[in-house]
Amino acid sequence: MVQKGDLLLQMKGVQKRFGGAIALRGADLSIRAGEIHALLGENGAGKSTMLKILAGVHVNDGGTITLGSKVFTTGSPQASIEQGIAVIYQEPSLFLDLSLAENVFIGRQPMKGAAIDWEFAQSEAARLFAELGVQLDPKRQARGLSIADQQVVEIAKALSMNANIILMDEPTAALSASEVERLMTVMKSLKEANKAVIFVSHRLDEVLAISDYITVMRDGATVSENPVGATDLQKIIKEMVGRELTELFPKTEHKIGEIVLEVTGMSNPAYFRDISFSVRKGEIVALAGLVGSGRSEVARAIFGIDKYETGSVKIKGVELEKGSPIAAMAKKIALVPEDRRQQGLFMIAGVDRNIAMESFDRLKKARVFLNFKKERALTETWREKLSIKYAGPSNPVDSLSGGNQQKVVLAKWLATDPDILIVDEPTRGIDVGTKAEVHKLIDTAAGEGKAVLMISSELPEVLGMADRIIVMREGRKVAELSRAEATQENVIAAATTGKVGA
């Protein structure tokens, strides 16, 4: 029988590479029974890789992992499940067509003779849901369940497997305040039952409220392991960020002009509420906040991809038609989306076709046919301006590196000469050198008098590039900071707790 405080899991010097990229360069983690353990770190610090190794999705290249006195067997989700490790992913991986009882027992259905004993499965699922303090009908289909309830089903699944280590990847990211409270009650009851709960979260207020132990990671290594009493918010934030912000960013001062984009009281209750802000000519405004805080949805609503219920968007004082990207483009708005592969590019089309995509009207011959010469000339112009590297102008963009793909998306929109440039996570997944180039392009665009709205999850980028920073949390604007006021600490504090002076 496991006693409270027994060492259940120990990871030492764990390493993991993906091709040339090092995800973990020697991470440590020790978990005891009856403990809620928070795993913290910035995006890319290696938290998810740690969880995935334990889940059996990835195999570590180096270091040791022991479960109690046994060596952990890596390499298959099935093996991890058998060793008592249950993982609850950020996006719950339920089978939406199946009933809740079935989701709890999938692959391990109780049998009566040759047949599955559905009655027992249902009563057992109902018992587990009740134990977790949640009213759910085990016969109900999983489709249409809220994220919070889906997590409860996942936790019930973990309990039914007799897992003693339960990993949760950002379990609260998509939950409302009352749901978070309910989840915390569940986590505490797991702790009472001498299970170990490891969770990743960016909401530091919650972390401090519920954890017993906190491990902070940075750049693929463990920075600190402390009981919650031995650390505090300031210390954790310092450990997470770790480096002084150097002047990596080519931000230059521009003349800031009149208001170009003005958003007033914009609400779409499912995603964001009462959002107001403005962007001026020559200004870079950053929308900061956690993933899921509603930033991208605000951008999509401005550009007309989604509708909003109340509020208005004005371009140079004139109200913009709702829900029409065509109207937005006619008003010279450009949106460089978050997911370039799915939303930004036609992956199998050529570089030239992609760059010219939004400029066809200007490239026509006799008002009907596309003038290929002009298309080539346009491509050549932007290749030079952005130093895009490709073998031939008609090569599919699929063959380009991520950084060059991003430049193609930028070129496509810059070629339309927009007044308002919205960029969503402009440097996600691209290397450091290209990152700096993209930053320079954004700065140049602002210098040319464009109003820039930049969404970014990378704090250094936000602090380094923006004239003003708007912080969102759970669909609401919680802070607006000038370049002078903003620090890593107060932006993180606003994004995670909703208060600037935490």
Partner: protein
């Protein structure tokens, strides 16, 4: 009765059954012959082959795959079984019932290895085997046809056998196959895995389900049923040439989809597949019975299919809206 109540159709199958009964009723009002013993027997006889194939393909579709090779496989087995029997006059129906599914299984194994093993898309793989198998029949048959006199009398007698005046032997086997498959899909882990795999293939891997094995065996099962359906074809028509059952694969898919086996995987039952096959046949038979020209058959089939897909879409949209409404309430 116990097994029937345990296989209590969910609302989808229930409402389909109701639609079927209403359709039969209306047809019967217009043409009373449709409701007689003969009319019912004809409906069952003409549905048996497609129904068996739809039941066989249901697990494959539930796993978010498709098997387009079944009609060619019917042609292949029908011709080969007739050929083997012609060369072995002492063979009886039992030989046919063993050889047929085995030939079908060979095609199923090839499909299964290509789809599950090499992870090729089943749409393309089975489109390929559709042509390969049909091509093989053309080449091997060398334009040789077989008629009743070359087939085992015991097989043809069985094809004529009718219980209680309305239930042909072949359709009785279809019902038995449906019941066994329905039980298997509901009460065995392997059956439930099919639903899970079709519902969320990524999660199926994460929870450690045997995705390769289930997918492979699904295609083998579909192939075996297609082989048996080839024997049914002989029993019904007592005649076979290399074009037997040519181009009928999509009516099988249509029957399954109309019966609520979702083409996107994850839901549907073999009960539904059987009702779907009956519904298609009833409407076609009914239209013929009330004097609608046979040329309308294909168009009516297409209309039914789109109606079924539309019904699915409406249901899906309804649950999406419910989800969004819930989200708004939670955020408020």
């Amino acid at each position: 009765m116990n097994i029937l109540s345990r296989l209590k159709p969910r609302s989808r199958e229930g409402s389909l059954g109701l639609i079927l009964i209403v359709t039969i009723g209306i047809t019967g009002l217009i043409n009373p012959r449709f409701l007689t013993g003969d009319g019912t027997r004809d409906l069952f006889t003409s549905t048996a082959v497609v129904a068996l194939l739809a039941i066989g393909m249901a697990p494959v579709i539930i796993m978010r795959h498709i098997d387009l090779s079944v009609a060619s496989t019917v042609g292949l087995t029908a011709w080969f079984v007739a050929d083997i029997c012609a060369k072995n006059p002492d063979f009886t129906w039992i030989h046919c019932f063993i050889i047929g599914p085995m030939i079908g299984m060979v095609v199923g194994i090839i499909n299964g290895l290509l789809v599950a093993g090499l992870r090729l898309p089943s749409l393309v793989v089975t489109l390929g085997t559709l042509y390969i198998v049909r091509g093989a029949v053309y080449v091997i048959s060398n334009s040789v046809d077989y008629n009743a006199q070359e087939m085992p009398p015991s097989l043809l007698d069985l094809g004529q056998k009718v219980f209680f005046g309305v239930m042909p032997f072949t359709f009785l086997l279809v019902i038995i196959a449906m019941l066994i498959t329905a039980w298997f899909m509901k009460y065995r882990k392997a059956g439930r895995d099919c639903y899970a795999i079709g519902s969320n293939p990524h999660a199926a891997n994460l929870v450690g389900l045997k995705v390769f094995r289930r997918t492979f065996l699904g295609f083998v099962f579909s192939g075996a049923m297609a082989g048996l359906a080839g024997v049914f074809y002989l029993m019904r028509f007592a005649q076979v040439d290399s074009t037997a059952f040519y181009g009928q694969e999509l009516s099988v898919v249509a029957a399954a989809v109309i019966g609520g086996v979702t083409i996107l995987g994850g839901s549907g039952t073999t009960v539904g597949a059987l009702i779907g096959a009956l519904l298609v046949q009833t409407i076609q038979g009914g239209l013929a019975a009330i004097g609608v020209d046979a040329f309308w058959k294909a168009a009516i089939n297409g209309l039914l299919l789109i109606t079924a897909i539309y019904a699915d879409r409406v249901l899906a949209r309804k649950s999406e809206l419910a989800l969004l409404a819930q989200r708004i309430r939670e955020r408020a």
